[in-house]
């Protein structure tokens, strides 16, 4: 498909600020990605392992752990996106 309007390929000239890489169509910072993978793995697998061993509790605890990890990461990590509002043009 055309690249119309997808700003991912735009390179800025300031070298120092460019520290994000593209994973799966969006930008991430390697350090933040590693933190997020560690947190979510611990909360999800942790939830699964600490749950009482009677199905389906381990899975539900795991799912809850996954959501907790997701929320934690969303609070701790800033998205790599800039905003600008554009008014309607004729």
């Amino acid at each position: 498909m055309s690249d119309l309007g997808t700003p991912t390929n735009k390179q800025t000239t300031i070298e120092t600020s460019e520290q994000n890489i593209e994973v799966w169509e969006d930008l991430v910072k390697i350090k933040d990605l590693v933190i997020s993978l560690i947190i979510c793995s611990i909360t999800t697998l942790g939830g699964y392992l600490i749950a009482p061993n009677e199905p389906p509790k381990p899975l539900l605890f795991g799912l809850a752990g996954a959501l907790i990890g997701f929320i934690l990461c969303s609070v701790m990590i800033k998205p790599k996106r800039n905003f600008r509002y554009e008014d309607r043009e004729g």
Binding site: L4, L27, V28, G69, F70, E89
Partner: protein, 452 residues
């Protein structure tokens, strides 16, 4: 039907609509990767099949309604299926009517849902007499499916050449697990291999980050610049039949009908082909773009619903790109569902109708209203608050857990290995469809090779 179950269905549908309204908007989310793990967990947790079906239908309708919002609001596709619409939405933006895109797309989606639900159920019932014949040849059909989808790939010879080695990898791991006693001899590891394929591209990238040279050479970016177009607030409850003119309703309905009939084809391919064909004779650029996006959105929605419902109701084996991908958990999620015992076998026709209707209606009521009214606010919220890292972490965590559940710690290594290979195949242009078909056909392929 038991009122408690109905309340559960409504609750599940509402939950599905809310979760997938947010996930639908987040950019770069692959349909299979976001739908399959959550559905799998719900199936394995032992919820009633009707409740899960209501959740799933609501989730796909909501996801489809919302993954085109970022296209209209910021020119970024919210999912693979929304990519063909970017060009047309940009034309509407250029002419200063970005809010028109959202309303036309969402209304197209509504038409797609309204057309495809009855068409799918009727078509599925018509196919039932053929089901016994098709079921008998399920394994070779998956192999034929793999060959067929491989021939459709950009790198068709590479895709064909990879079928047997990939089947060997899958069966090799299964036999290893049996050999070392990681799983009992009657257990076939499936779910975690499926998910390994799904998040393959991410696993490959993660491995590459450990490679010093690769990491240093990776292209670096500054923050992603997103321009949000200010849109007007809609008053009252939106009516899709007023938003679309009569011709747009007609082409959306026709596209949705054709999309339902071609449920076994690739939805992205059909969307591009039919969307462009149906709008090619319109001269005025704004009208042409509006016609294209409304019919494309209708079609993708219809392809999703029919691709799930027709194989599910008629066959019980996942013979469509949609069924073998995002909807896979409804067909095969051992030990709860297997190809011999899944939703197809446990639900009656009226169960299917009710679950589909409750799921679709709740998602349309909640998400269509929200989409039209608050599209810009939701987009801004998701873009500002939900980091891509958290999305990747969420799905990575779920895959790890399901890998551990399937066959213990050894399988985390196994899933990483499958993901690594699948990620390379994906980068080489061998799409998920081929890989999933091989996953299903692997035992049969290996049996045939050794002359069984």
């Amino acid at each position: 039907m038991d009122p408690v179950i109905i309340i559960q269905m409504i609750g599940a549908a509402a939950l599905g609509a809310i979760i997938y309204t947010i996930i639908g908007i987040a950019p770069g989310t692959d349909e299979t990767a976001v739908l399959a793990p959550v559905t799998l967990v719900l199936v394995l947790s032992g919820f009633q099949p009707v409740v899960i079906l209501a959740f799933f239908i609501s989730a796909i309708v909501a996801k489809k309604l919302t993954d085109s919002i970022p296209v209209a609001v910021a020119g970024i596709p919210g999912g693979v299926m929304a990519a063909p619409m970017v060009e047309h939405a940009m034309i509407l933006k250029k002419h200063g009517v970005p809010d028109l895109s959202i309303r036309k797309m969402a209304s197209g989606s509504v038409i797609g849902t309204l057309v495809s639900v009855p068409v799918s159920l009727i078509l599925a019932n018509a196919l039932i007499p053929m089901a016994d014949v098709i079921k008998e040849y399920a394994s070779p059909l998956f192999f034929i499916g793999a060959v067929f989808l491989a021939l459709m790939c950009k790198n068709r010879w590479l895709a064909l050449a990879m079928i047997v080695p990939f089947a060997l990898l899958i069966q090799g791991l299964r036999h290893l697990y049996w050999g070392v006693g990681a799983v009992p001899a009657d257990t076939t590891v499936f779910i975690s291999f499926f998910l390994g394929i799904t998040i393959g591209p991410v696993i490959l990238t993660l491995f590459e980050l450990l490679n010093n040279q690769k990491r240093k050479n990776l292209e670096r970016f500054d923050k992603k610049n997103i321009t949000l177009y200010r849109t007007k607030m809609e008053k009252g409850f939106p009516n899709p039949f007023k938003i679309l003119d009569r011709k747009e309703v007609g082409t959306s309905a026709l596209a949705s009908f054709l999309g339902s009939l071609t449920f076994f084809m690739s939805p992205v391919g059909m969307t591009i082909f039919l969307g462009e064909t149906l709008s090619s004779r319109v001269k005025d650029p704004v009208k042409k773009a509006a016609r294209a996006i409304s019919s494309m959105d209708g079609l993708t929605n219809a392809a999703y619903i029919s691709g799930t419902l027709i194989p599910l109701v008629a066959l019980g084996i996942p013979l469509s790109p949609m069924a073998i991908g995002p909807a896979n958990a409804l067909f095969n999620a051992p030990p709860v569902f297997t190809l011999e015992h899944n939703m197809h076998h446990v639900l009656s026709t009226s169960d299917f109708v009710w679950a589909t209707l409750i799921g679709a209606v709740i998602a349309l009521l909640l998400t269509f209203y929200v989409t039209i009214k608050f599209s810009q606010q939701i987009c801004a919220f998701v873009f500002k608050r939900v980091p891509h890292e958290a999305m990747l972490g969420l799905f990575f965590g779920l895959v790890l857990m399901l890998a551990f559940m399937d066959a213990g710690w050894i399988n985390i290594g196994g899933v990483l290995l499958i993901g690594l290979v699948a990620g390379i195949l994906h980068r080489w242009g061998i799409n998920y469809g081929v890989q999933f078909m091989v996953l299903y056909a692997a035992p049969w392929i290996i049996n045939k090779i050794i002359g069984g």
